[in-house]
Amino acid sequence: MNTQTDKHIEKLVERFFDGSTSNEEEQELYRFFSGENIPEQLLPYRPVFAYFETGIKNENWNESKIKTVKSTRKRTLFWVGIAASLLILIVLRMFYVEQTKAFNPYEGSYIIRKGVKITDPKIVRPEIEKTLHLAMLMERIEQESPYAQAVKRIKEEQKGWLNQMKDETFREEAIKIINSEL
Protein backbone atom coordinates (compact mmCIF):
# COMPACT_ATOMS: atom_id res chain seq x y z
CA MET A 1 0.00 0.00 0.00
CA ASN A 2 1.23 3.40 -0.87
CA THR A 3 1.26 5.30 2.41
CA GLN A 4 1.52 8.65 0.69
CA THR A 5 -1.49 7.85 -1.39
CA ASP A 6 -3.35 6.72 1.70
CA LYS A 7 -2.49 9.91 3.52
CA HIS A 8 -3.54 11.95 0.52
CA ILE A 9 -6.82 10.10 0.42
CA GLU A 10 -7.32 10.58 4.15
CA LYS A 11 -6.83 14.31 3.70
CA LEU A 12 -9.25 14.36 0.83
CA VAL A 13 -11.82 12.48 2.91
CA GLU A 14 -11.45 15.07 5.67
CA ARG A 15 -11.84 17.89 3.24
CA PHE A 16 -14.79 16.09 1.63
CA PHE A 17 -16.68 16.03 4.89
CA ASP A 18 -15.75 19.68 5.44
CA GLY A 19 -17.34 20.40 2.09
CA SER A 20 -14.16 21.89 0.67
CA THR A 21 -13.26 19.41 -2.05
CA SER A 22 -13.35 20.27 -5.70
CA ASN A 23 -15.15 18.16 -8.30
CA GLU A 24 -11.89 16.61 -9.47
CA GLU A 25 -10.91 15.70 -5.92
CA GLU A 26 -14.32 14.10 -5.36
CA GLN A 27 -13.99 12.15 -8.56
CA GLU A 28 -10.60 11.00 -7.31
CA LEU A 29 -12.21 9.78 -4.09
CA TYR A 30 -14.95 7.93 -5.97
CA ARG A 31 -12.39 6.23 -8.22
CA PHE A 32 -10.28 5.27 -5.23
CA PHE A 33 -13.12 3.80 -3.23
CA SER A 34 -14.58 1.97 -6.22
CA GLY A 35 -11.24 0.18 -6.67
CA GLU A 36 -10.09 -3.02 -4.95
CA ASN A 37 -7.03 -2.04 -2.91
CA ILE A 38 -8.51 0.06 -0.16
CA PRO A 39 -6.55 0.25 3.09
CA GLU A 40 -8.20 -1.16 6.11
CA GLN A 41 -8.44 2.17 7.94
CA LEU A 42 -10.34 3.64 4.95
CA LEU A 43 -12.71 0.70 4.37
CA PRO A 44 -15.49 2.16 6.56
CA TYR A 45 -15.72 5.08 4.11
CA ARG A 46 -16.31 2.89 1.10
CA PRO A 47 -20.09 2.59 1.37
CA VAL A 48 -20.30 6.35 1.94
CA PHE A 49 -18.51 7.21 -1.28
CA ALA A 50 -20.29 4.43 -3.10
CA TYR A 51 -23.58 6.04 -2.00
CA PHE A 52 -22.49 9.49 -2.97
CA GLU A 53 -21.50 8.40 -6.41
CA THR A 54 -24.57 6.29 -7.11
CA GLY A 55 -26.96 8.15 -4.79
CA ILE A 56 -26.22 11.52 -6.34
CA LYS A 57 -26.61 10.02 -9.77
CA ASN A 58 -29.97 8.63 -8.66
CA GLU A 59 -30.94 11.93 -7.10
CA ASN A 60 -30.15 13.67 -10.31
CA TRP A 61 -32.27 11.15 -12.11
CA ASN A 62 -35.08 11.57 -9.55
CA GLU A 63 -34.79 15.33 -9.84
CA SER A 64 -35.25 15.17 -13.57
CA LYS A 65 -38.17 12.83 -13.04
CA ILE A 66 -39.67 15.23 -10.49
CA LYS A 67 -39.11 18.14 -12.84
CA THR A 68 -40.91 16.24 -15.58
CA VAL A 69 -43.78 15.37 -13.24
CA LYS A 70 -44.00 18.96 -12.03
CA SER A 71 -44.11 20.38 -15.53
CA THR A 72 -46.79 17.86 -16.55
CA ARG A 73 -48.81 18.79 -13.50
CA LYS A 74 -48.44 22.49 -14.27
CA ARG A 75 -49.62 21.93 -17.79
CA THR A 76 -52.62 19.94 -16.55
CA LEU A 77 -53.52 22.63 -14.03
CA PHE A 78 -53.21 25.22 -16.76
CA TRP A 79 -55.72 23.47 -18.97
CA VAL A 80 -58.02 22.73 -16.03
CA GLY A 81 -57.95 26.44 -15.22
CA ILE A 82 -58.83 27.30 -18.82
CA ALA A 83 -61.70 24.80 -18.79
CA ALA A 84 -63.02 26.09 -15.45
CA SER A 85 -62.90 29.70 -16.68
CA LEU A 86 -64.81 28.75 -19.82
CA LEU A 87 -67.39 26.90 -17.78
CA ILE A 88 -67.89 29.89 -15.50
CA LEU A 89 -68.27 32.16 -18.50
CA ILE A 90 -70.85 29.85 -20.04
CA VAL A 91 -72.84 29.65 -16.81
CA LEU A 92 -72.74 33.43 -16.37
CA ARG A 93 -73.87 33.90 -19.94
CA MET A 94 -76.78 31.50 -19.50
CA PHE A 95 -77.77 33.23 -16.27
CA TYR A 96 -77.63 36.63 -17.99
CA VAL A 97 -79.73 35.43 -20.91
CA GLU A 98 -82.30 33.95 -18.53
CA GLN A 99 -82.50 37.21 -16.58
CA THR A 100 -82.92 39.37 -19.66
CA LYS A 101 -85.37 37.01 -21.34
CA ALA A 102 -88.45 38.98 -22.12
CA PHE A 103 -91.21 38.32 -19.61
CA ASN A 104 -94.59 38.15 -21.24
CA PRO A 105 -97.28 38.79 -18.64
CA TYR A 106 -100.00 37.73 -21.09
CA GLU A 107 -98.54 34.42 -22.11
CA GLY A 108 -101.27 31.86 -22.65
CA SER A 109 -103.89 34.36 -23.77
CA TYR A 110 -106.06 33.67 -26.80
CA ILE A 111 -109.23 34.77 -28.55
CA ILE A 112 -112.11 32.86 -30.12
CA ARG A 113 -113.63 34.09 -33.37
CA LYS A 114 -116.28 32.12 -35.24
CA GLY A 115 -115.44 29.05 -33.21
CA VAL A 116 -111.73 29.23 -34.01
CA LYS A 117 -109.14 29.62 -31.27
CA ILE A 118 -106.47 32.17 -32.22
CA THR A 119 -103.18 32.45 -30.33
CA ASP A 120 -101.17 34.54 -32.81
CA PRO A 121 -99.74 37.39 -30.66
CA LYS A 122 -100.16 39.94 -33.48
CA ILE A 123 -103.88 39.26 -33.59
CA VAL A 124 -104.34 38.74 -29.86
CA ARG A 125 -102.46 41.84 -28.70
CA PRO A 126 -105.06 44.49 -29.71
CA GLU A 127 -107.75 42.35 -28.09
CA ILE A 128 -105.73 42.20 -24.88
CA GLU A 129 -105.72 45.97 -24.75
CA LYS A 130 -109.48 46.11 -25.29
CA THR A 131 -110.10 43.59 -22.54
CA LEU A 132 -107.79 45.39 -20.12
CA HIS A 133 -109.70 48.56 -20.80
CA LEU A 134 -112.94 46.76 -19.98
CA ALA A 135 -111.44 45.49 -16.73
CA MET A 136 -110.42 49.03 -15.78
CA LEU A 137 -113.92 50.20 -16.53
CA MET A 138 -115.25 47.45 -14.34
CA GLU A 139 -113.10 48.56 -11.44
CA ARG A 140 -114.08 52.17 -11.91
CA ILE A 141 -117.76 51.35 -11.97
CA GLU A 142 -117.33 49.37 -8.82
CA GLN A 143 -115.66 52.28 -7.10
CA GLU A 144 -118.13 54.88 -8.29
CA SER A 145 -121.33 52.84 -8.13
CA PRO A 146 -124.09 54.06 -5.76
CA TYR A 147 -123.42 51.01 -3.63
CA ALA A 148 -119.74 51.77 -3.37
CA GLN A 149 -120.49 55.41 -2.62
CA ALA A 150 -122.91 54.39 0.14
CA VAL A 151 -120.41 52.00 1.67
CA LYS A 152 -117.72 54.66 1.58
CA ARG A 153 -119.98 57.14 3.34
CA ILE A 154 -121.00 54.68 6.05
CA LYS A 155 -117.37 53.80 6.73
CA GLU A 156 -116.40 57.45 7.00
CA GLU A 157 -119.23 58.15 9.44
CA GLN A 158 -118.36 55.19 11.58
CA LYS A 159 -114.70 56.05 11.60
CA GLY A 160 -115.55 59.64 12.49
CA TRP A 161 -117.46 58.34 15.52
CA LEU A 162 -114.62 56.00 16.48
CA ASN A 163 -112.05 58.79 16.33
CA GLN A 164 -113.69 60.23 19.39
CA MET A 165 -112.71 57.16 21.40
CA LYS A 166 -109.66 57.49 23.58
CA ASP A 167 -108.60 53.85 23.62
CA GLU A 168 -106.27 53.61 20.62
CA THR A 169 -106.11 49.82 20.54
CA PHE A 170 -109.87 49.47 20.58
CA ARG A 171 -110.20 52.14 17.90
CA GLU A 172 -107.74 50.41 15.56
CA GLU A 173 -109.43 47.04 15.98
CA ALA A 174 -112.85 48.55 15.33
CA ILE A 175 -111.59 50.23 12.13
CA LYS A 176 -110.23 46.87 10.96
CA ILE A 177 -113.61 45.27 11.51
CA ILE A 178 -115.43 48.03 9.61
CA ASN A 179 -113.04 47.75 6.67
CA SER A 180 -113.41 43.99 6.49
CA GLU A 181 -117.17 43.77 6.84
CA LEU A 182 -118.16 46.25 4.12
Partner: protein, 132 residues
Protein backbone atom coordinates in the same frame (compact mmCIF):
# COMPACT_ATOMS: atom_id res chain seq x y z
CA UNK B 1 -105.84 11.36 17.07
CA UNK B 2 -103.43 13.42 14.97
CA UNK B 3 -104.51 11.56 11.86
CA UNK B 4 -108.19 12.26 12.46
CA UNK B 5 -107.52 15.97 13.14
CA UNK B 6 -105.49 16.17 9.94
CA UNK B 7 -108.25 14.47 7.96
CA UNK B 8 -110.81 16.85 9.40
CA UNK B 9 -108.72 19.89 8.44
CA UNK B 10 -108.24 18.54 4.95
CA UNK B 11 -111.96 17.95 4.63
CA UNK B 12 -112.71 21.52 5.76
CA UNK B 13 -110.23 23.02 3.29
CA UNK B 14 -111.49 20.93 0.37
CA UNK B 15 -115.10 21.61 1.20
CA UNK B 16 -114.55 25.37 1.52
CA UNK B 17 -112.77 25.44 -1.83
CA UNK B 18 -115.57 23.40 -3.39
CA UNK B 19 -118.15 25.75 -1.97
CA UNK B 20 -116.34 28.72 -3.48
CA UNK B 21 -116.35 27.04 -6.87
CA UNK B 22 -120.00 26.04 -6.49
CA UNK B 23 -121.00 29.63 -5.73
CA UNK B 24 -120.82 30.63 -9.38
CA UNK B 25 -121.10 27.20 -10.96
CA UNK B 26 -124.04 28.10 -13.22
CA UNK B 27 -122.32 31.14 -14.68
CA UNK B 28 -119.03 29.29 -15.13
CA UNK B 29 -120.83 26.49 -16.92
CA UNK B 30 -122.17 28.96 -19.49
CA UNK B 31 -118.74 30.57 -19.85
CA UNK B 32 -117.19 27.19 -20.48
CA UNK B 33 -119.85 26.49 -23.06
CA UNK B 34 -118.89 29.71 -24.88
CA UNK B 35 -115.23 28.68 -24.77
CA UNK B 36 -116.04 25.38 -26.45
CA UNK B 37 -118.61 26.80 -28.82
CA UNK B 38 -118.09 27.17 -32.57
CA UNK B 39 -120.95 29.61 -32.84
CA UNK B 40 -120.42 32.63 -35.05
CA UNK B 41 -122.44 34.68 -32.62
CA UNK B 42 -119.81 34.46 -29.89
CA UNK B 43 -116.56 36.41 -29.67
CA UNK B 44 -114.42 35.64 -26.70
CA UNK B 45 -111.15 37.06 -25.36
CA UNK B 46 -109.36 35.08 -22.69
CA UNK B 47 -106.48 37.02 -21.18
CA UNK B 48 -104.20 35.58 -18.56
CA UNK B 49 -102.39 38.22 -16.53
CA UNK B 50 -99.26 37.26 -14.66
CA UNK B 51 -97.26 39.25 -12.15
CA UNK B 52 -93.56 38.43 -12.39
CA UNK B 53 -92.61 39.41 -8.85
CA UNK B 54 -95.56 37.95 -7.03
CA UNK B 55 -95.85 34.97 -9.38
CA UNK B 56 -99.61 35.23 -9.25
CA UNK B 57 -102.03 35.42 -12.12
CA UNK B 58 -105.62 36.19 -12.78
CA UNK B 59 -107.83 35.85 -15.80
CA UNK B 60 -109.81 38.42 -17.74
CA UNK B 61 -112.52 37.19 -20.04
CA UNK B 62 -114.67 39.28 -22.28
CA UNK B 63 -117.55 37.71 -24.14
CA UNK B 64 -119.52 39.42 -26.85
CA UNK B 65 -122.75 37.79 -27.94
CA UNK B 66 -124.23 38.98 -31.20
CA UNK B 67 -127.74 37.86 -32.02
CA UNK B 68 -127.98 34.73 -29.91
CA UNK B 69 -131.06 35.18 -27.74
CA UNK B 70 -130.85 31.66 -26.34
CA UNK B 71 -127.30 32.14 -25.07
CA UNK B 72 -128.12 35.52 -23.55
CA UNK B 73 -131.06 33.96 -21.71
CA UNK B 74 -128.78 31.21 -20.46
CA UNK B 75 -126.53 33.85 -18.94
CA UNK B 76 -129.48 35.61 -17.38
CA UNK B 77 -130.81 32.41 -15.86
CA UNK B 78 -127.39 31.44 -14.55
CA UNK B 79 -126.91 34.90 -13.02
CA UNK B 80 -130.26 34.62 -11.22
CA UNK B 81 -129.38 31.22 -9.85
CA UNK B 82 -125.94 32.28 -8.62
CA UNK B 83 -126.91 35.71 -7.33
CA UNK B 84 -127.80 34.49 -3.79
CA UNK B 85 -124.19 33.31 -3.43
CA UNK B 86 -122.63 36.67 -4.21
CA UNK B 87 -120.83 38.88 -1.74
CA UNK B 88 -122.42 41.79 -3.50
CA UNK B 89 -124.71 42.24 -6.47
CA UNK B 90 -125.81 45.28 -8.40
CA UNK B 91 -128.74 45.31 -10.78
CA UNK B 92 -129.91 47.79 -13.34
CA UNK B 93 -133.21 48.47 -15.01
CA UNK B 94 -133.74 48.62 -18.72
CA UNK B 95 -137.02 48.76 -20.57
CA UNK B 96 -138.90 48.01 -17.37
CA UNK B 97 -136.89 44.86 -16.73
CA UNK B 98 -134.23 44.31 -14.08
CA UNK B 99 -130.96 42.77 -15.11
CA UNK B 100 -127.92 41.92 -13.03
CA UNK B 101 -125.09 44.27 -13.94
CA UNK B 102 -122.41 43.41 -11.44
CA UNK B 103 -122.01 40.22 -9.44
CA UNK B 104 -119.12 39.88 -7.06
CA UNK B 105 -118.19 36.47 -5.65
CA UNK B 106 -115.25 35.57 -3.45
CA UNK B 107 -112.64 35.32 -6.21
CA UNK B 108 -114.52 36.25 -9.38
CA UNK B 109 -116.46 39.25 -10.55
CA UNK B 110 -118.94 39.38 -13.43
CA UNK B 111 -120.04 42.54 -15.22
CA UNK B 112 -123.01 42.33 -17.58
CA UNK B 113 -124.34 44.62 -20.19
CA UNK B 114 -127.56 43.33 -21.72
CA UNK B 115 -128.62 45.25 -24.79
CA UNK B 116 -131.35 44.30 -27.23
CA UNK B 117 -132.55 40.74 -27.05
CA UNK B 118 -129.81 38.48 -28.23
CA UNK B 119 -126.96 40.96 -27.71
CA UNK B 120 -124.87 41.22 -24.60
CA UNK B 121 -121.37 41.85 -23.29
CA UNK B 122 -119.98 40.00 -20.32
CA UNK B 123 -116.69 40.78 -18.60
CA UNK B 124 -115.23 38.43 -16.04
CA UNK B 125 -112.26 39.09 -13.80
CA UNK B 126 -110.55 36.98 -11.17
CA UNK B 127 -109.50 33.45 -10.39
CA UNK B 128 -111.48 31.78 -13.14
CA UNK B 129 -111.07 27.99 -12.96
CA UNK B 130 -111.07 27.47 -16.66
CA UNK B 131 -108.45 25.24 -18.19
CA UNK B 132 -106.45 27.73 -20.26
Amino acid sequence: MKKSVGMMLLFLIVSSLSMEMMAQKNLLAVVKKCDASDSQAVEMNIIRRRNKEAKTSDVLISIRINGDKKLVNEFLEAAKKDEPNTNRSISSKKGGKTYPSNLKFEDIQFMFSFEDEGNASITIKGNVPIDI
